[in-house]
């Protein structure tokens, strides 16, 4: 059946992209919270924080963390859409057809990548309006896009698990809320050296900090160093675990 994998995945991705085109509010709501946080932190807290973040403007300091928050709020829609497909019975219809088995999941994952990309562009556009500027080279931007894509991919596969197992809509989309706190316990909003030692220790050893630091260095035309490999290791490790977990849940469904 693998011969049809690409065609089936394309057909099903076209379907869920059409869903998004017909309810673009899902992209807008994905972008609203990060934009609100951007405004809040820059115009309300920013004046008090700015002195601690070095020479760069606080918008530039904040943007990488806000981009990760955008992805976290975007992936809950993948769980939501998957749950909706399951409860509507359309998922079972696809599973009874001669369709490549995992195409149904890959279609939702690819849709998530596209939807998150659009939401990220909206957030970056707002940041530009607020005075964010970057002289990063095309190669550095490529790195930013690559890391964000990898991060989105990993978290989307993570979202597939509640999408397949949740008993209610709230359960399906609510799993992402705890993830929203991770950026606060990282270097996303303030440098970790101002935190109490145990908090700082956690912050310095969790994925958001290394990913945020790499994105910030890339955008600020700074050398990234070893932090790049740590960030990549987090993303790939998370992706591998999430993909494995999602596939295990997927195959157990038909037992």
């Amino acid at each position: 059946m693998t011969t049809h994998f690409a065609g089936d995945t394309a057909a099903l991705t076209g379907r869920s992209l059409r869903h998004i085109l017909r309810s673009p509010d899902t992209i807008i709501t994905t972008a609203v919270m990060p934009v609100a946080m951007l405004l809040l932190f820059v115009y309300v807290f920013g004046g008090a924080i700015e002195g601690d973040t070095g020479s760069e403007s606080y918008v530039a300091y904040l943007l990488p963390g806000i981009l990760l928050i955008t992805v976290v709020s975007g992936i809950s829609y993948t769980a939501f859409r998957l749950f909706t497909d399951l409860s509507a019975g359309i998922f079972e219809r696809f599973q009874t057809m001669p369709v490549a088995r995992s195409s149904v999941l890959w279609a939702h994952v690819l849709t998530s990548l596209v939807a998150n990309a659009v939401a990220l562009v909206v957030v970056i556009a707002v940041a530009l309006l607020m005075g964010f500027r970057s002289g990063a080279s095309p190669l550095a931007w490529l790195g930013v896009v690559g890391i964000l894509a990898l991060f989105t991919l990993a978290l989307t596969w993570l979202a597939v698990i509640p999408g397949l197992t949740a008993k209610s809509v709230d359960g399906a989309s609510g799993f992402a809320y705890p993830l929203l706190f991770l950026p606060f316990l990282s270097s996303a909003f303030v440098p970790t050296d101002t935190m109490p030692a145990p908090v700082a220790a956690f912050a310095e050893h969790q994925p958001v900090t290394s990913i945020v630091d790499v994105l910030r260095s890339l955008l600020a035309e700074q050398p990234v160093g070893d932090e790049l490999w740590i960030a990549l290791a987090w993303c790939i490790g998370l992706l591998a675990v999430a993909y494995w977990g999602a596939m295990a849940v997927f195959h157990r469904r038909s037992a």
């Binding site: 089936d8 059409r18 509507a88 009874t96 001669p98």
Partner: protein, 268 residues
């Protein structure tokens, strides 16, 4: 009873399935002859849907075998999926896509050339051409079920599984579904339908089986099943019209014609 000849489109032997402590299927045997309409009767929760799901490769059985169109559901699920289609209890259409897009999507997933033409042909056949450009979420119950069945006929699968195809439908919509099932069988397809409505089995099925407490407790033609009971006594009673006959007479619609009227208000 039909013996296990290769003419069976569906062949079930000793099928068992439990969910936790609940032993839903306790050894089901079933043969559905090619080109026939077979009705599986049973009360709610008796395991009809479980049996259909096993035939449809959505669930794995604990014991026993099941073959659809000659292919084993456990060992050869991919070939089975090419040979049947399922219309579930709750019309599984994509509500956000239009009727035409739903059909074209299924045609694409069945790897047919020219999905658009397949969709148009089916819209025409199921009297949905006018509604084809509207989102399926705006359809009436009867239209949804017609679209659902149309989706399952794409690619002309030789075996059609219909799980309670008329549950929740109004009398006209039910008649439409019945007409569709009869057309399918006369076109050579094998139809297995589950139902709680005895009248539906009586009207449509060549053979009827009754699933009770996890086993098939009766299996035969309507005449054979009737022969299980003491011979009928002759009584004279006044023939009252059934409420259904009254309803259809007052509403005045030809039951064979598609009834799109319930949603005309939503159409524009």
């Amino acid at each position: 009873m039909t013996t296990d000849t290769p003419t069976s489109a569906i062949e079930v032997r000793g099928l068992e399935k439990s969910f936790g402590d609940v032993h839903v299927l306790r050894g089901v045997d079933l043969d559905v002859a090619r080109g026939s309409i077979f009705a599986l009767l049973g009360s709610n929760g008796v395991g009809k849907t479980t049996l259909v799901k096993i035939l449809a490769t959505l669930l794995k059985s604990d014991a026993g075998t099941a073959r659809v169109a000659g292919f084993d559901v456990a060992n050869d699920p991919a070939r089975v999926r090419e040979s049947f289609s399922l219309t579930g209890q709750f019309a599984a259409v994509d509500e956000i896509l239009t009727g035409r897009e739903n059909l074209a999507l299924v045609a694409r997933l069945r790897h047919l050339p020219d999905p658009g033409a397949v969709a148009d042909e089916l819209l025409d056949r199921f009297s949905l051409t006018e509604a084809g450009g509207r989102r399926a979420g705006t359809y009436s119950g009867g239209m949804r079920r017609r679209l659902d069945i149309a989706m399952s006929l794409i690619g002309d699968p030789p075996v059609v599984l219909l799980d309670e195809p008329t549950t929740g439908l109004d009398p006209q919509a039910r008649q439409e579904v019945w007409a569709t099932v009869e057309r399918l069988a006369s076109g050579g397809a094998t139809v297995l339908l589950t139902t709680q409505y005895l009248e539906e089995a009586e009207r449509l099925a060549d053979r009827i089986a009754i699933l009770h407490r996890g086993r098939i407790i009766a299996d035969g033609t309507l005449a054979e099943l009737k022969a299980l009971l003491p011979p009928a006594r002759v009584e004279y009673v006044e023939k009252q019209p059934t409420l259904e006959e009254v309803f259809l007479a007052i509403v005045g619609d030809d039951p064979a014609a598609p009834a799109d009227s319930p949603t005309t208000t939503k159409e524009q």
